[in-house]
Structures are given as structure tokens and as C-alpha cells.
Amino acid sequence: MTALSPQTLETRLTDYLTHQTGGSVHVHGVHPLAGGASRDSWTFNATFSDGTSGRFVLRRDLPTSMTEQALTRAQEFALMRAAYDHGVQVARVRWLCENEDVLASPFFIMTYVEGISVGRKVMTSPDLAAARVALPMQMAQQLARIHTLDAAGLDFLQRPTDHNPARHAIKDTHAALESIGAVAPALEYALRWCERHIPAPDRETFIHGDFRVGNLLVNPTGLAAVIDWEFAHIGDPCEELGYLCMRDWRFGADKFRAAGLSPREPFLQAYEQYARVTVNRDSVTWWEILGNIRWAVICLVQAQRHLSGQDPSIELASLGRRSIEMQAEALRLIRQTGDITS
């Protein structure tokens, strides 16, 4: 992928938006946005021929993706539009461009939403103290809404085989381990435990797929927007509830299992009220364990990108050694279930 300078982006975005809107557009204030291992994000201002103006975010593909399951920009655009129309707090997507002649790779443009997404900052910034109090209920409310999104028009979303998301997830994880030839008895043990304690299939709903602090824009009053939808799929909503309980997504605030912000039980009760469902606690724990296993495997897969020469990087290399953290956490959670022998 060609690296683009702010000046080049300014020129090309001006041409693109002028063509799209049918009137002259002035693009200015182009700045890169930090974060995102698989996307290239920029913010810019645009003034239109009718005198209106706004601030926008450009999201563009990078040459390698975190996993093969990530959505394309066109797919992400479609589901963010569906989420917006469904009343989810999400940035409004405006323009999609799949013509690589414009910016060398597909991109879309959405309305800018002010907020902080960096997990450690969200968890520690004095300016966000009130937000941290409000966030658990806001997250429960947003998840309840996300899980009722009608995915009928989103045929590209991955769906679990045999309507069994848990079994599907185990199979995928085994396949990922095999794909890199990883030898990890602790992960095999943990996966075998998951197989023996597999939860009964429950509801199947639309799932964000990476819902946690770090993928939320947070302002002083709390949740401003849910971002990073590229891992959305159809699955068991307990997967999403267990995922945000993972220790790594508490960003050092280990004590509170629900995203490091709240004890798990009141969070789940709030979700139940908003979603009008009953949540199986054992299933949430199971998905928290599997979430740790999958994150441990993804770390190994990422390190393989470095080792294979595909994407040499000290960050990717170091991720391989982080795998043991999630392996240890999975083993602890299994031990804490009090049931390792059945």
C-alpha cells in the first residue's frame, strides 16, 4: 500500500468529495489518527458548496489484516449504517469508495465523534471519572440494542455452523493452532475442557465481535460511540458478554470483571433488563475462558506473521510471548470453576 502524505490526501479527498457531492468542496486539517493495527485512519475537515462544514474520519485498509475474519471496508460500511439506523451509538457513515485509484486502497468516510478510545486513558484519566461510573450501564444498554439488530441484509456475516457457536469457535481455534504448527499443551488442555463443558446453544444474534473498552469512544459523560466493527458476526450473545470480562480488557483494573469498570453481576443484570432476556452465567464464564484461549492463539498467529517474514515487526514478535498471559488466565478461570475432572 502506498503511504499517503496529508497533502496528497487533502488533494485527493477534495477531488473525490467534489465529485461525490456535485459541488466544490474544500478539505483541510488532515491529521493521522493513532491506533489500529489493521487500518489506516485520518481525520479532516471539509467545507461544502452550500456553506456547511464538518469534521470527518477516513478509514482505509492496510496491506495486512489482523485475522482473515476481518470484514472488508464495504461490509463494515454496510453494517455500521445498519447499526446507526437501528439506534446504536455509532458514527454515521457517509461515503464508501472501493476504487483503488483514489487512495490506493478501499476506504470509507464517517462523521467525526469526539472521544478517547485508548484503554489505559479511559481507565485512568481524571477527566473521565464520571464516565467510568456511567459506562457499565451504557455498555449494557448498547449491547442489548446491538444484539437485536436485524442482520437479514448482512449476508456476508460469518455464521456458526450447525447453529452451535461454541462448537464452531472451538473448531476455528483448533484450525488456527494447526495453521501455524503451534505446540501448546496448555491451550489443548483448556480447549479440551471447553469441549467437555460446552454450553447449550442459546440465542443467535448479531454480535459486534470486539466490544470492550478500547473500542469505544468515551467523553466525560460516558460512551459517545461504538467503533471498530470489523469482527462483527452472528453468534451467541454470551460470547460478547464473556469477552468484555477478559482480564486483558480491564487495562490494569483487574478487580472488576466487567471491563474493569463494574462487578460482573450488576452488569449482567443491567443487560438482562435492557435486553429482556435471562443470561446463563456459566455460559458467560465459558465464553470468557474461550475468549482468553482465542486471544492467546491470536498472539501466536500474530508472532507467526513476523517469523514468516510476511510482516517483520518487534510488536508482532513480542505478541508471541504475551500468549502465555492469556493461557495462564484461562487455566485460572478453569480452576476457579471447581470442575477440572469432569
Binding site: 467437555r196 502465555i324 480452576r335 475432572t341
Partner: protein, 144 residues
């Protein structure tokens, strides 16, 4: 044999160089700054592995002998021993997946083995997390 500085001391010299000279000079370049912090952490892992890696491998080998009820001697030559350990773990992984450890007694022994091995590797790769686990275990106050 060239051992002044030793391998551990050489790694420490690189780490000191990065921490005292390079990192302060690149604070204005966020990505490079972050990547260099990661590199320092990788060096610290390497230092701990130089110091503790052999002991951990020996312990894992013996734990495997106990788990499989075998008395296989560990190869003396380091490279051969590493390959042999990988081969034994590959066999163990396949056996676990095939359900060969599914009896209560075997599961108890297997859990003890993997927990012990992972605990040692955690100390080497993420001592901060090992410390947090120890505090939780000592106090009995687990995340709620």
C-alpha cells in the same frame, strides 16, 4: 570462551543503551517510541530466559516424565534437548486432543502439569502478571 561481558551482561548493555540514550531521544515519534519500549521489554524477557530458561526446561522435562509415567533422560546437548521437548509436547498435545487424558485421575495430573509449566513461563515472560496472580491467591480476593 568469550565471557567478558557475559551474554547476560551484553543484553543488559543493549537494554541500558536503549533506555538511557535512545528512548529519551525519540519521545516525539510516538510509533518508534512505543516500538522501542516493546524492544526493551523483549530484551528483559531474553535476559530472564538466559538466566532461568535452562532450569525451566529441566523442570518441564521432569514434569512430563511424571505425567506420562516415564523415565526418559533429557538429552545433554541444548539444541537436541529443545527439539526433544518440543516433540514430547507435540505428542502430549495430540493425546489431549484425542481425549487420552479424559479420566478424572489423568485430568488432575494433566491440570497440575500444564499449570506448573505455564506458571514458570509466566514468571519469565510477564512477571508483573505473575505478581498480580500471587497477590490474588495470597489474599483470596479474586476479581468479581
Amino acid at each position: 570462551m568469550t565471557d567478558r561481558p557475559s551474554l547476560e551482561q551484553l543484553l543488559d548493555a543493549v537494554r541500558m543503551h536503549l533506555e538511557t540514550l535512545v528512548i529519551p531521544a525519540i519521545r516525539a515519534e510516538p510509533k518508534l517510541y512505543f516500538q522501542t519500549l516493546v524492544a526493551v521489554n523483549v530484551l528483559k524477557i531474553a535476559q530472564r530466559e538466559v538466566a532461568e530458561g535452562q532450569t525451566l526446561s529441566d523442570t518441564e522435562w521432569e514434569s512430563l516424565n511424571v505425567l506420562t509415567d516415564e523415565h526418559i533422560p533429557q538429552p545433554v546437548e541444548r539444541g537436541v534437548a529443545v527439539e526433544a521437548l518440543i516433540a514430547r509436547n507435540r505428542t502430549l498435545s495430540a493425546d489431549i486432543r484425542a481425549g487420552k487424558y479424559d479420566t478424572p485421575e489423568a485430568l488432575t495430573r494433566l491440570a497440575h502439569h500444564v499449570e506448573s509449566v505455564v506458571s514458570g513461563q509466566l514468571m519469565l515472560n510477564a512477571p508483573h502478571l505473575a505478581q498480580r496472580f500471587r497477590i490474588e491467591d495470597d489474599s483470596g480476593e479474586y476479581p468479581i
